[in-house]
């Protein structure tokens, strides 16, 4: 059977986390609001109402342009995209057609197998969101709360070649958006939505097949599934001797199926023209500079720095740059700890991220501070506590909000390095386990670990294991 290669381009709609909507002063985020309560004459298309452009939308779109190395149009225009639908109260969507805020650029990302992929961006434009509709029997219920929410639409070039690459691109994009602080990028809440253009061609041919557009894919898993479904469908069609037609397909997440949209909904002619109610968006040099100053170090850059300057392994650097807050936490802890960065990385990945996972909290919700983490590692280093106690301390700090040193003091978690105490217990253990002592003396030296464990258990972890081992070696030799 013929082998096929898929070519995929993604159009992502990114909901910006501004306070207000794109063109009116309603709240941008209506999550949990009663339907049609976060609306006004402007976003509901009341006759006579006029839009006015939200500065924060422009600022956040500009940050994304800078982050993906796009060319910035210092003067961009809003256009009307004309079509009628129940969720579009104005009868047209205000968007940017041929002169959008950003053009070109790229997003680099690593696949799990270490392969680096560069996905070029075609353009990046600002626009308003449509409302929500839901079916109820044979009627459709319209909620306009989401109408006018500011979006950035980012369109890639057809640079992706598998559902996996598409999913990874989205994961990286989501990371970037959160990193920049311009979108919550929560796909379940549709802050990040994706349409995928999918086509296939025989592996040996350069000729692209006709593409189909899958709309409304609302999770990274769904992107993977829907694209795979569509690739399989296209292969089936071709193998059955049929032609691929240029369809618009809707992904229904509830039923996990693809549905063809009515041709009317895909009418090609949107009759774009300039929105006469809005001035062009001019980006002054001052404005651009002020936005540049707000730009954080980007994750890909920081990852390199973690490898090259902090000496982290690539894997650690990747994990510690998935979220900006985690990354900042780690780096600040390194500064305070001022020692082996890899050691901080281990504690970060093994303990702090574990606690976040277990409790489901975010970095900002952590009770453990950067200073706490550095203190704990230092206490372990100085043998004030042992490693197990250190690990437990992370949980205790998170639970109580108390500082680690205080907890060690209050609960007497400090290591017993008093020779006499350890010697007493060790002697007791040796004498009450004559069989094991004999085995050891007969050459089964690995049993030393077992003896140390017994001592540690007896002393509820407070003994310095190094000390205990030293004493045990001495006692066992004597016999």
């Amino acid at each position: 059977m013929m082998e096929y290669i898929a070519t995929i381009g993604l159009e992502t709609h990114i909901q910006l986390n501004t306070n207000t909507k794109a063109f009116c002063s309603c709240k941008a985020d209506s999550w949990g609001d009663v339907p049609n309560t976060n609306i006004c004459p402007i976003c509901t298309g009341q006759p006579g109402a006029l839009p006015s452009t939200n500065q924060a939308m422009v600022e956040k779109a500009l940050m994304l342009c800078l982050a993906i190395n796009a060319d910035i149009n210092m003067d961009s225009f809003f256009d009307r995209k004309n079509y009628m639908y129940a969720d579009l109260p104005g009868g047209y969507q205000v968007t940017q057609n041929d002169r959008s805020i950003g053009r070109g650029g790229y997003l680099d990302f690593l696949m799990d197998d270490g392969r680096e992929v560069r996905c070029h961006i075609h353009n990046l434009h600002m626009e308003e969101d449509a409302g929500k509709t839901k079916n109820e029997g044979d009627i459709r219920l319209i909620d306009m709360n989401r109408c006018g929410v500011p979006l950035v639409e980012m369109v890639t070039m057809p640079d992706l070649h598998s559902a996996d690459e598409a999913a990874t691109y989205l994961t990286r994009l989501r990371q970037l958006l959160r990193w920049l602080g311009i979108s919550e990028a929560n796909m379940e809440r549709a802050h990040l939505r994706c349409d995928a253009n999918v086509s296939i061609s025989p592996k040996e041919s350069n000729e692209l097949g006709k593409k189909c557009e899958i709309k409304n894919i609302n999770s990274i898993e769904a992107v993977r599934t829907a694209i795979n479904f569509e690739i399989e469908r296209q292969i089936r069609e071709i193998n059955a001797g049929r032609k691929i037609e240029q369809w618009t397909i809707e992904w229904d997440n509830d039923t996990q199926e693809l549905r063809k949209m009515r041709s009317k909904e895909t009418a090609a002619d949107y009759r774009y023209f300039r929105e006469p109610n809005l001035m062009p968006v001019h980006i002054s040099e001052e404005f651009l500079e002020s936005v540049k100053l707000k730009m954080p170090e980007l994750p890909i850059r920081r990852r390199e720095r973690f490898i090259n300057e902090l000496g982290l392994p690539a894997y650690d650097a990747s994990v510690l740059t998935t979220e900006r807050e985690i990354s900042d936490f780690f780096e600040n802890a390194c500064k305070i700890y001022n020692g082996d960065n890899k050691r901080v990385s281990n504690w970060m990945m093994n303990e702090v991220l574990r606690v976040m996972n277990e409790t489901g909290c975010t970095v900002s919700e952590l009770k453990i501070t950067v200073r706490d983490l550095a203190d704990i590692i230092q206490m372990v280093d100085q043998k004030t506590i042992n490693t197990t106690t250190g690990k437990n301390l992370v949980d205790m700090v998170q639970k109580t909000g108390k500082r680690p040193k205080l907890l060690v003091e209050e609960q007497g978690l400090g290591l017993v390095s008093d020779d006499a105490a350890i010697r007493d217990i060790s002697a007791k253990i040796v004498s009450s386990n004559p069989k094991e002592a004999t085995s050891y003396q007969n050459g089964k030296e690995s049993l030393i670990g077992w003896f140390v464990g017994q001592v540690m258990r007896e002393m509820r972890g407070k003994a310095d294991p190094e000390k205990a081992k030293e004493i045990l070696l001495e006692l066992l030799k004597k016999n």
Binding site: R140, D143, H282
Partner: protein, 107 residues
């Protein structure tokens, strides 16, 4: 002047996309009018336009110092949201009601 009369088929297609039911008389008369008006539209082609002429959105220029600034991102809730919904010919539980839009399933 190129021949670009609006045929009955083309016209009917516009009417469909425009979502505009017309009576037979309206169709006939409006199509005829539109074809007459094409003459006016075609005048555009004979206007001598030099390369210096950039397209404009408005007649009067908008120097930056008099232009409206971008809107500050400050939430100002609209007080009469219910008045908006009350105007809808059909509503239910705070939603505006529309007849459904049928879909076709892909096998």
């Amino acid at each position: 002047m190129e021949d670009e009369t609006i045929s009955v088929e083309m016209f009917n297609e516009f009417v469909q996309v425009a979502e505009l039911e017309l009576t037979a008389e309206e169709s006939e008369s409006i199509r005829k009018k539109m074809n007459e008006q094409l003459r006016v539209i075609h005048e555009l082609e004979s206007i001598p336009l030099d390369d210096q002429l950039a397209p404009v959105i408005h007649g009067n220029p908008y120097p930056r110092d008099i232009q409206a600034p971008l809107r500050e991102d400050v939430w100002r809730p609209f007080a009469n949201t219910q008045d908006i919904i009350d105007q809808a010919p059909r509503s239910q539980d705070g939603y505006i009601v529309s007849p459904d839009v049928p879909h076709q399933k892909l096998g």
